[in-house]
Amino acid sequence: MMSHAIALQNPDAADLPRAYAGPKQAVQGRRLAATDETDWAALMVAVRDRQDRAAFAMLFRHFAPRVKAFLMKSGTEAALAEDCAQDVLATVWQKAHLFDPARASVGTWVFTIARNRRIDIARRDRRPEPEVLEWGGDVHEPDQADLYEAAQDAARLTAALQSLPEAQRALVARAFYGELSHREIASETGLPLGTIKSRIRLAIDRLRMKMS
């Protein structure tokens, strides 16, 4: 892995979505700027429902550098990672109809697309996907409370990850960069499985409620 050789910037902390600040119109015009209150899910819904290119541009500015870093951390060299980050964001546009803000944050959804791209790059093990399931409720009329809860989940997990001791945080990151084999994950050495499980419990409860 080449991750040690890569100079990565610290993300602009002010650029992180903190918590959903209640229902609001995120896309007001063509001049958009990200703030720490940026409502990524609302931007994504604007892309999904109205093919809003200004909203897409904001999503691109935030997520493309993160996808590029993710792919570089996974061992992809910079130029290819940049091309693939563009592919991933183009897929975000193309597959926007699959985005369900009550189920996953934009970051989580982008992660799954980036992960699949990473697997394609490796050209080794395919990753079969589960059958598509129709969830309860109408995807196109997300409940504001659901959106709020989903944003809270994402903010909580991001905060929890950052609060872990550095060695543990790095190991969780390596697992999701695909650097740890399933056997290394299974052996749990240093992976804070208990912490992870306790932190995702609320998300699991929420998804269960959503699904039933």
Binding site: L8, Q9, P65, H97, R103, F111, L161
Partner: protein, 211 residues
């Protein structure tokens, strides 16, 4: 479907992270197609991936946004997933090329049949057909073995496994699964090492049967 034996958290994390060998991913995807609980847990683990994604950035080239915008076409339109018609969930049906009637079984003797599915090296996947009431030869494991029941049921000294259940066995397990009476037991099994059969099938035949 009442499922009592699920994927472990470690397997769910590895599947969410995309680091499982293909054969194990196939078992995970097939189980998750049948198990809402594991589907939810995987989506929650994917949220950790989302949090990891937020932690680092790498600068994109100046023209990258314009280049990407120029590529955007008409997005895909939503379509309802087709309902499952046969026994095999879609990820497994994709490997078989259809439902059970498309499986190319090979006899292993004693009525036991198997069909090896094409997956990447490192782990192998196969469908197993065990006649009702029939024992599977004693076997221990050198690696990790996942066995997902699709039809019928089997039990060993520890537990009973019915449709949707996954048995997770590793180096420490040596067991004697027996198919229950009723329907023949059909399983999807994946392992990252050749099984060693202790009785019935001479060790010498293993390379021929690829089990």
């Amino acid at each position: 479907m009442t499922i009592t034996h699920h994927l472990s958290d470690q397997l769910l994390i590895a599947y969410a992270a995309g680091s499982l060998p293909e054969a194990f991913s196939l078992v995970a995807a097939t189980h998750v197609s049948l198990c809402d609980d594991c589907r939810i847990r995987i989506e929650a683990y994917e949220a950790i991936g989302g949090a990891v994604l937020e932690t680092e950035t790498a600068e994109m080239g100046e023209a990258s946004l314009e280049a990407c915008l120029a590529r955007l076409g008409q997005p895909d339109t939503p379509h309802r997933p087709a309902p499952r018609r046969g026994l095999l969930p879609s990820p497994l049906a994709d490997y078989v090329g259809g439902d059970l009637d498309k499986v190319r079984w090979r006899s292993l003797g004693m009525g036991v049949r198997q069909a090896i599915l094409p997956t990447a090296k490192g782990a192998s996947a196969r469908l197993l057909y065990i006649p009702a009431g029939q024992g599977v030869p004693d076997h221990g494991h050198r690696g990790l073995e996942l066995t997902l029941v699709l039809q019928g049921a089997f039990h060993d000294a520890r537990a009973r496994f019915g449709p949707g259940d996954v048995e997770i066995a590793d180096e420490s397990d040596e067991h004697t699964p027996v198919a229950e009476t009723g329907d023949a037991c059909i399983c999807l099994a994946a392992t990252d090492a050749p099984l060693r059969f202790i009785s019935l099938l001479p060790r010498l035949l293993q390379p021929i049967f690829r089990i």
